[in-house]
Symmetry: D2
Subunit: 111 residues, 4 copies
């Protein structure tokens, strides 16, 4: 317990949360906010889930594997929505979400 | 707004949150839990504050500078307590907290 | 320590957080999302701050008074913005934010 | 969407989160901290899960039903542990956790 296990997944989760926070803020400033409504909604969800996933992983929670399974779905939904838009913040967010979805799916399956 | 400002501070905050989550969990498993009670309490506080600081910074919140001023105090208190203990997780946490306290103090002052 | 102090403020904070979450979601579904962009942004901030304020109060945190001072500002900003709109969810949110701002200001001053 | 659905479940979640925050703090001040280590650990988990469950419910999240299924497990684990102790804060927390577990299980099943 002296060193943090799964450190790299913790970083992936927090990177994704940061990308989602940034994307939500940037979307709210776009001229066509209407078109970005789902993106804003899902970025809010994904930021909350990935933040919690990072924290559960860092604390080696007994519930982290089950949480990851659900977190993978949230990341995937956000990646799919962000992937529809051409803004740089959406493209960066989609990439961070896809990476986090893959890792969560993989780690959640090894429970 | 296309790229995230203050990206490096976001990382510092989330690194500190991760160190605090890990330290709190590890402290709860130590034989001398009694001696670690303040450390556990402050790691819980600091993990919550640094997580929120990372998120506010990533979203470029209008309240982030004021939050950083307070977050610096929380990080400093946690660094001081962790610095009293010889466990590897405490030493690593104290170092992460000191770094985050310094950055928060600096950024909070430039409001 | 057997009973929770400031229980009524904890409820006020969580009520405000719930109103902000609901208002942000409802605003994202309005036809005129553009007009609601600031409301969505501030509801997101206020939901985060009030949730944390409720938790810090419930745990009797040594940092709760300082946090309340800042939380009062966030609640006030959200109340002012929500107060500009005629949607039922905005009016309910403005009222919850005003109540929370008042209590946070009062409790924060008695530090 | 003008009024918040499931308002009563939102309150149950936040009540449970508050009870867990209070219990964790009180446990850390008990003379026999060693005996309370699992209780502190699970209260931390349960406070995080119930806070998020309250927020997801208030925002009518598309992921809330799946989250409730997992949240019910966390609440049940915390109720079982708190139920072993005679402190008033543990008994109050166990009761809040059982109520939240039941509601989450019921609502999660109606997805």
């Amino acid at each position: 317990m002296e060193t943090m296990e799964h450190r790299s997944h913790v970083d992936t989760c927090f990177d994704c949360a940061a990308a989602c926070e940034h994307c939500a803020t940037a979307c709210l400033k776009e001229e066509q906010v209407q078109m970005m409504a789902d993106c804003i909604r899902l970025c809010r969800e994904c930021a909350d889930f990935c933040t919690m996933c990072g924290r559960l992983t860092a604390r080696d929670s007994q519930f982290m594997r089950q949480f990851m399974v659900l977190c993978a779905d949230v990341c995937q939904a956000c990646a799919d929505e962000c992937g529809k838009h051409d803004h740089e913040h959406c493209k960066a967010c989609a990439e961070a979400c896809r990476k986090c979805a893959d890792e969560c799916r993989h780690m959640g399956a090894s429970a």
